[in-house]
């Protein structure tokens, strides 16, 4: 693994990927963005990512299926669920199926950065969450 954290971001809302890709790049993530769950699954079959961020409610394939696929294929990978349909039952289901974290939409870029930093820490690869903070402070 090159020093960068490998992140796959899956959300059928294109804007999410467009905004989060640069946001995560700032803290040293290499982000691959997908809007189509099928293509994401194909890619996930090929490559082991450090972190997978996925929406839950999508048309053809459910985020939960992506979660299960990743947990089976790459047990080391941390999966972060993001959803606009957050409910206690859904949150518990996601956790039960092995999600690393569960974030309700709408969230701020920092919210996700913080969670990704935590995920990286859990993987043993400390990432510089403050990179963005420093940049912000400077800018």
């Amino acid at each position: 693994m090159s020093g960068n954290l490998q992140v796959l971001l899956l959300d059928d809302e294109p804007i999410v990927g467009r905004r989060l890709k640069p946001a995560l790049a700032k803290i040293g993530c290499e982000v691959e963005v997908f809007e189509n769950p099928e293509q994401a699954l194909i890619r996930l079959g090929q490559k082991e990512f450090d972190v997978v961020v996925t929406d839950i409610r999508m048309d053809e394939i459910d985020g939960m299926q992506v979660l299960q696929f990743v947990r089976e294929r790459w047990p080391r990978t941390n999966v972060i669920m993001i959803t606009g349909y957050a409910m206690m039952s859904l949150a518990r289901e996601a956790m039960e199926k092995g999600a690393f974290d569960f974030i309700a939409k709408p969230f701020k870029p920092d919210d996700l950065r913080r969670v990704i930093a935590k995920a990286a820490r859990a993987l043993g690869s400390e990432i510089d969450f403050d990179a963005a903070e420093v940049e912000k402070a400077n800018g």
């Binding site: 206690m88 949150a91 518990r92 289901e93 092995g98 569960f102 974030i103």
Partner: protein, 273 residues
Amino acid sequence: MPVIIVSADDFQQGREIAHRVAGVLGYRFLGRDLLARVAQEKQVSQQDLARALDEPPGLLSRRSRRQRLLSEIEAACLEQLLEDNVVAYGLAAHLYVRGVSHVLKVRIINEPEQRANILAQTGNIPLERARKLAQRQTGGERRWSQDAYQLDQTDPSLYDMVLSLGTLEQDKAVEIICDMVGYRKFQPMTYSRKCLRDKALAAQVRLALMERFPDIRVEANDGTVVAYIQSLKKDQRKKQEQVRQMAGELPGVRHVEVHVIRDYFGQAAQSSR
């Protein structure tokens, strides 16, 4: 790590179990000790606080004062629960912490007969009287929770798990709770922490505004506070402004929205739903 809330109809054993669970898991135990602190900070009597939690509503009890005392407890307790790894007991937390996925809510029940036995022993009273007392306690619990939180705390659907001491030893109950909390389902996450934070903030805002607006209902979402107050049409604007100002000064509040409910009956119907 998770938060555990224990409620029991057998007060003594419930407390023991909660305490032991905290010991086994190395969690903090949050019990009635909290009342002493609240009493000190808010200049109210600790006895009154305890009574607000224990005594079913009587004809002469002043509901608004009781609700205020309960709000004090609620706000203080929620603040404590924000830090994980807590076992809460005896603070009615099962009634105001709902919909938070990392909170495991456990109800401990015991056979009426055994409860009567314990009451007879500890209170040094005849068994027959103890039986009646036990029965009254159950009815009292129900009435109390319905009056204070519009919920029946003997309703099993409020809980994630109901353990019966009629079939389980205390040891086993402790073991089961400790096992259960290990499930990933009850792991805290960004979303559930946010939910709990929202609740804590809402409780703080409500507490701050309660004296002025006894019927206020507050919801919070990530620093945005929505307050529902009752008002006659003519006072509406003034009151809205007041709420906005009072709530806006509180820490953690970024934006305040005030909804005025003019339909008293509709409100009554809604709050009892």
